[in-house]
């Protein structure tokens, strides 16, 4: 792959985003477009913006990689990311828009009238934001390394820098238009290459994707191992190797023994045609026809893991800090609902394509199973199928690279703005008197921690870390929102206990998985996919503690509930109740 073309794609996206940010602000300055009504954002634009912000690195790269390795089970990611919006639409969107609460801490303060709870909710938002930023930056590292061969640290630093500059320079002020543009860029960037690749596959005689046995090399293939990897070899396999195997320098024909083989950096392995692809250690990839069946991966507790993933994705969406904010761009609740339906359609269309990459990747880029970098399949497939030197291959590679970069930028900037807002409002405001400075410091902090973590080489699958972020969100803010909106007996003590217990359990599980690596057996499954037990735990804690503390129900309970649940156009005295007046000056 030509590094210049890759860099060009990255620069193109960064510059066009910045330009659009500036032009979008400058647009419509003439007196002819004077009318305010013409400035409201139509549901269509708004839905594009929401989808643009939501489709992250996990969606663009991670899902295809997971499907490549693990098959049908991983379709749940696409389904779950989309279905989360359905729950958001049905249960949360309208009441939350009526509440006027702008962030999750705002909602906690408004509904339960507690400053301490607000602080706890802020801590939750920051944790989830960091956890969700980490895989975006990590994916940027993978992309730049794959496309341009730069060291792994360049990607995270580059994305963090671009986001930092654009947020600080105010480039995100036309954020709706920028994000809407990014959605269409991403759809184009993933759809056009996918269609071309399917046509190539047809021209190739439509070879069977799920042949018997493990994935095989379709032609003589040389794989250069960029990072040390331990291979699992099923049967002794004759390869041509240049480099280090199990610590010994080798050059020439060698037989890889069955079992584990340690391959050193820079080693080149050449496999013959039809040789089975050895898998990277820990990548319990699925082979043969089982690839197309659910729960055939042979991982223990697959049923539990699948359901836990579903719960995390379905319930976690509403707890992501950057998701709720966009709903306020809708002029009213009706527009909010139409927007959400359009979002569902737009996300649904997008998630058709990663599946195609995952399937074709088994045929044309099986060496990714060897290096374990399955996330790169979307980036590598065009040149693998069309030939690295061909113009078509290069153009399509540039396109997917641009799409991937758009994915990191849009999600990362949305998250950064949300986290920075919470940090500046709830943590820094007492130390830094100027709100503008506080927001800037917040922006730097919001990016610094995940960048350091990404540079720290936490090497986890993108979609896995995202799944963990969703699990924490589902175990904290989902119960807070659902019970807060639909259950009037919730008290601040109950909400706090639920947030601490649910969030604590999920964070501990996430932390254990990230720090110690995934372990095996039931504890491993429980830690790797905690949502199925942490979400009920959080709900139960909130309910039980709330019932035990009936005296702590907020004073403005009924007023708040009326405001949350009465449609905006019903003429109604919503009252002068101001729960926090007593805290003011």
């Amino acid at each position: 792959m030509n590094p210049t073309a890759g860099l060009l794609a990255v620069l193109l996206v960064a510059i066009s985003t910045a330009l659009l940010g500036i032009v979008g602000v400058r647009a419509a300055r003439t007196t002819s477009d004077f009318y305010v009504a013409s400035r409201t954002v139509s549901p269509w634009w708004n839905a594009s913006a929401i989808s643009g912000e939501y489709l992250s690195a996990a969606s663009f790269l991670g899902v295809a990689g997971l499907i490549l390795a693990y098959g049908a089970d991983m379709l749940w990611f696409g389904v779950g990311y989309t279905a989360g919006y359905l729950l958001l639409l049905v249960l949360v969107a309208a009441p939350l828009r009526r509440s006027g609460a702008y962030t999750l801490p705002d909602f906690a303060e408004l509904r339960l009238e507690s400053q301490v709870l607000r602080k706890v909710a802020s801590a939750g938002v920051v944790t989830i934001g960091w956890l969700y930023l980490l895989p975006q930056l990590h994916a940027a590292g993978i992309t730049l390394r794959t496309i341009t061969g730069t060291p792994a640290w360049v990607g995270p630093v580059a994305v963090a820098a671009v986001v930092l500059v654009s947020v600080l320079a105010g480039g995100m002020r036309a954020i709706t238009f920028v994000q809407a543009f990014q959605y269409w860029l991403k759809v184009t960037a993933i759809a056009i290459p996918a269609i071309v690749l399917v046509l190539v596959w047809r021209a190739d005689g439509s070879p069977e994707i799920t042949s018997e046995g493990p994935a095989t090399f379709t032609e003589t293939t040389t794989v250069e191992v960029a990072a040390p990897v331990e291979l699992e070899v099923a049967e002794p396999l004759l390869v041509h190797a240049e480099g280090t195997l199990d610590g010994d320098a080798v050059s020439g024909e060698v037989t890889l023994p069955a079992g584990g083989v340690q391959v050193g950096t820079g080693t080149e392995l050449t496999f013959a045609e039809d040789a089975p692809v050895p898998h990277a250690q820990g990548l319990r990839a699925v082979d043969g026809p089982g690839w197309t069946y659910p729960m055939s991966s042979g991982t223990p507790y697959a049923l539990y893991t699948t359901y836990s993933l579903i719960i995390a994705l379905f319930l976690g969406t509403m707890g992501l800090p950057h998701v709720l904010v966009r709903f306020y761009t809708n002029p009213d609740g009706r527009a909010a609902r139409r927007t959400t339906v359009t979002v569902l359609a737009m996300l649904g269309v997008f998630y058709l394509f990663p599946t195609i990459y995952g399937g074709l990747g088994r045929l044309y880029a099986p060496e990714l199973l060897l290096t374990g970098r399955t996330e790169a399949v979307v980036l590598l497939l065009p040149s693998a199928m069309l030939g690295a030197g061909s113009t078509a291959g290069q153009v399509l590679t540039v396109l997917v690279t641009a799409g991937a970069f758009a994915a990191f930028l849009s999600t990362a900037s949305g998250l950064t703005v949300s986290v920075a807002g919470v940090l500046s409002q709830d943590v820094l405001n007492r130390r830094i008197s100027s709100p503008v400075t506080a927001f800037r410091v917040g922006t730097v902090l919001a990016l610094l921690v995940p960048t350091l973590l990404a540079l720290g080489g936490l090497d986890l699958a993108i979609a896995d870390v995202v799944g963990l972020a969703f699990a924490v969100a589902a175990s904290t803010f989902c119960p807070l929102l659902l019970l807060g909106i639909w259950w009037r007996r919730l008290t601040d003590a109950g909400a706090m206990a639920g947030l601490v217990v649910g969030g604590g359990a999920a964070t501990a599980a996430v932390g254990a998985t990230i720090m110690l690596g995934s372990s095996t057996g039931l504890p491993g499954a429980l830690l790797a996919q905690p949502a199925a037990w942490t979400v009920p735990l959080a709900f139960i804690t909130m309910v039980v503690v709330s019932l035990l503390t009936p005296g702590r129900r907020p004073r403005g309970l009924w007023r708040t509930m009326v405001r949350l649940h009465t449609p905006e156009d019903v003429p109604l005295d919503r009252g002068p109740w101001d729960p926090e007046r007593r805290f003011r000056r």
């Binding site: 007196t31 305010v36 409201t40 921690v449 973590l453 926090e580």
Partner: protein
Amino acid sequence: MSPELLAAIASLVAVLAVAAVLWRELRPRVLLGPAEHRSTYRILHRITLASPPLRAGLAPGASRAVKHLHALTGSAALALADSERLLAWSGAGESHQHHVPTGEQVSETRVLGPDLVACREDSCPLRYAVTAPLTTSDLQVGAVTAYATGAPPAGLVRAVEEIADFISGQLDLAELESSRAELAEADLRALRAQISPHFIYNSLGAIASYIRTDPEHARELLLEFADFTRYSFRRHGEFTTLAEELKSIEHYLTLEQARFAGRLRVTLRIAPEVLGVVVPFLCLQPLVENAVQHGLEGQPRGGQITIVAEDVGNEAHLSIEDDGAGMDPQTLRHQLGGAPGDRVGLANVDERLRATFGEEYGLVVETAVGAGSKVSLRVPKFHPGVHVA
């Protein structure tokens, strides 16, 4: 740097951030030092807890304060009454609740003996009481009464007096706050009433000038005028959305443009994200009016007005800029400080913004003679209690 080291540093930063927040929240509860500091802290903390409920005035919510004040006196029971009836009781002997001294009956601190206090129930231990009046602005508005089983020591009498003084102080603050709110409301009414005299006169004059030459345009202007007045004179609600406020400005500027006959150029740069933000009613219109009347009126070339609304994190930043006459910053400072002048609209908006969102949310004016002027304000997207009615 090795990956492990970076990971360790990053985790350390995250842990330190969380620890710093926890430390800030928990420090006063953990670190109290020697015994005298502890008791000072406990007393002050009780008082801190008792203050907010009282700040809402003499209302049933005051029971939360009475609990803490009761703990401070160490008496058997403590009662709080307004001028007519009991509001809150903390402690033993609930049967006494029906004849607690009220504000009407208590004019000075008194010790009540068993002849006045003892009740028929044998089990009731209360025999004595100390009662003290609560006053705001020299009016007796209530009474606080501490009950004791034996003759009250002098210390208790003094303590009850102090507590009555403390409550009175809080009630003064409550009154101050509510009068501040009333004042803001009165300001708003005043603003509504005084927006218009010369604007109405000028607009009607401009419309009249079109009636012969361009009746259709005159009709449109008259409808704009109707819409503008309906919004400005509406009765309910202290708050509105930015979109509504901008629509009103649109009507206003259409009318002014008719008067300036094309010499008034307007540029709007509004981020659609902030159209739904809740702002105080009539917080922008006076600023635009100020720019037109003081900045551009009398400029032969007319001028340019730029209205900008930007989306910045959790806030919306608004600004109104004109390239007209400008003014001396020193004079403006005096006028905003309350000195008489014709910039009442500006001072009024400034006052209401501060009263609504807090002191740091006042207007920022950049101006100099001959250099035009720019008025900026910030509005938080969410503020408790601020919502369109």
